[in-house]
Symmetry: C2
Subunit: 294 residues, 2 copies
């Protein structure tokens, strides 16, 4: 049997890789479009490594989904993927089993198998949005339908800023890239990316610093809540904003220690941007038994 | 083999029962003291049902503990149990395997085995304090050392009222009996039990109603956070304050629905005050394999 193909569909970029024994043997990355582009990339990586067909394909996507049916449900952020029957389409095209899961849960599997390999941890993507995956006793906590881990939608302040999800004061609305950028628009009167706000805060701009401090305190509070509720060995962070961890990390950790009863351990994933791709490739081995078809 | 003995050590009352196939065949309940009283009660229930010795004993306690060693650690609220080697002492006395776990986690096991029997749920004790247990995929989420489920120590408001744990704004400090009673002392200038505050709120007392509404909103927020993070099938509540669920429930549910993206399902445990005792009796079957001694 060949290795597996991992597909990590992101809000902006899609990564596809041929993976065997935790090594990415060939890869493609491109701006997220639809399933046709994913099929092309799978064919390309298979040709590169000389596989006739993959042993299995694992797909992580940032969207509500029917895990049992392998289908992406209504997803305004990913119009090309709305209603796509991912496992059927890729299964027909590549004649192998295909598994579909949430992207942050896939990343948590990447951490479980190839990262810190802790048995009890929460993985958090800190990026444009905030997602997560929970691992307890060495197993993914999938939840009733596989949607568990939505740490970005913890409401921390019921009167807080509006979230894309329709609620107010979600962790994501305060601490994620979208939240930081919106705060900059509203309070600084400028259209800035989260990265630009962080860079200004670094240079001592008071307005930007206030926004970044607030984001870090919210992230701390979210981390501390997970720490108390799940007693993990550690919290693992990944995602674009962790690129500024030298600046953001000390703020997050300083606040977190006052919000949990025991010292919080936070680490960045050693897998960097590959955590989701490696996790998607490991998904076939970790997909819940009762949701496997056939 | 005989059935098992369950021991549910509460902050105020201890319950001991001889249990077989989910039925409590004999029971004792008495004000919480030390291990001598527990041994007496175990002997009494065994005599009543005619067992020579129990198949196993499960003990739930509201204290920090070393689960592997079966020992209760420093516990200011339960001075008689400070440092007691529970599994060794009861094992020596009754010549059977003994298992020790957190009381709210034990109650969650009661719910898993004898209550709603959901595979994905969070059990919350809403009482003098607030504790909890998480079940994911039909298995208890124990956490790194068995202390997971401390839902009462989620910080909801970092500037909120002081908690017994030393932090501020924990769910417990706002919504539990201790929090309600403290708010009454501070805001109404009276020493009232939580039940008395709830009764006054029921009769329309504005000050008491404000305190109860705040407690219910905090409980809603905590429930909604668990709902988003763990995607359970339902949240199960037990504990003394659920005795006023006819009054408190509508408040909790009304607020929760605005704080989670999908409708929250909350149910009271059908096991009532026996949930902890039944769970302790089922603990021997659900104790984590890697922490079993010998």
């Amino acid at each position: 049997m060949e290795g597996t193909v991992g597909v990590d569909i992101g809000g902006t970029r899609t990564r596809v890789g041929a993976v065997a024994r935790g090594r990415i043997l060939a890869r493609r990355a491109f701006p997220t479009q639809g399933i046709a582009e994913v099929k092309d990339a799978i064919r390309a990586v298979m040709a590169e490594v000389g596989w006739a067909r993959p042993g299995a394909i694992g797909v992580g996507a940032p969207a509500p989904m029917d895990m049992r049916g392998g289908k992406i449900l209504g997803c305004p952020n990913l119009p090309h993927w709305n209603g796509v029957e991912v496992t059927r389409e890729l299964g027909d095209a590549f004649a192998c089993p295909v598994y579909l899961a949430n992207d942050a849960t896939s990343a948590a599997i990447g951490e479980l198998v190839f990262g810190h390999r802790a048995h009890d941890f929460v993985y958090i993507t800190w990026s444009t949005g905030i997602g997560g995956g929970v691992v307890s006793g060495g197993r993914v906590a999938w939840g009733a339908t596989g949607q568990a881990g939505e740490v970005g939608h913890m409401v921390l302040d019921p009167d807080g800023p509006p979230c894309r999800c329709g609620k107010r004061g979600c962790l994501e609305a305060i601490a994620a890239g979208v939240g930081i950028a919106r705060a900059a628009r509203e309070r600084l009167g400028e259209r800035l990316s989260a990265r630009e706000v962080v860079d200004r805060a670094r240079r001592g701009d008071a307005g930007a610093l206030a926004i970044v401090d607030e984001a870090c305190r919210a992230m701390s509070q979210g981390i501390a809540i997970l720490w108390e509720v799940l007693e993990p060995e550690l919290i693992v962070l990944g995602g674009g904003l962790t690129g500024s961890w030298d600046f953001l990390g000390p703020k997050v950790l300083a606040a977190a220690h006052g919000l949990a009863r025991t010292p919080v351990r936070v680490e960045l994933t050693p897998l960097g941007d590959d955590v989701g791709l490696l996790g998607a490739a490991a998904l076939p081995d970790h997909f819940p038994e009762e949701w496997r078809s056939g």
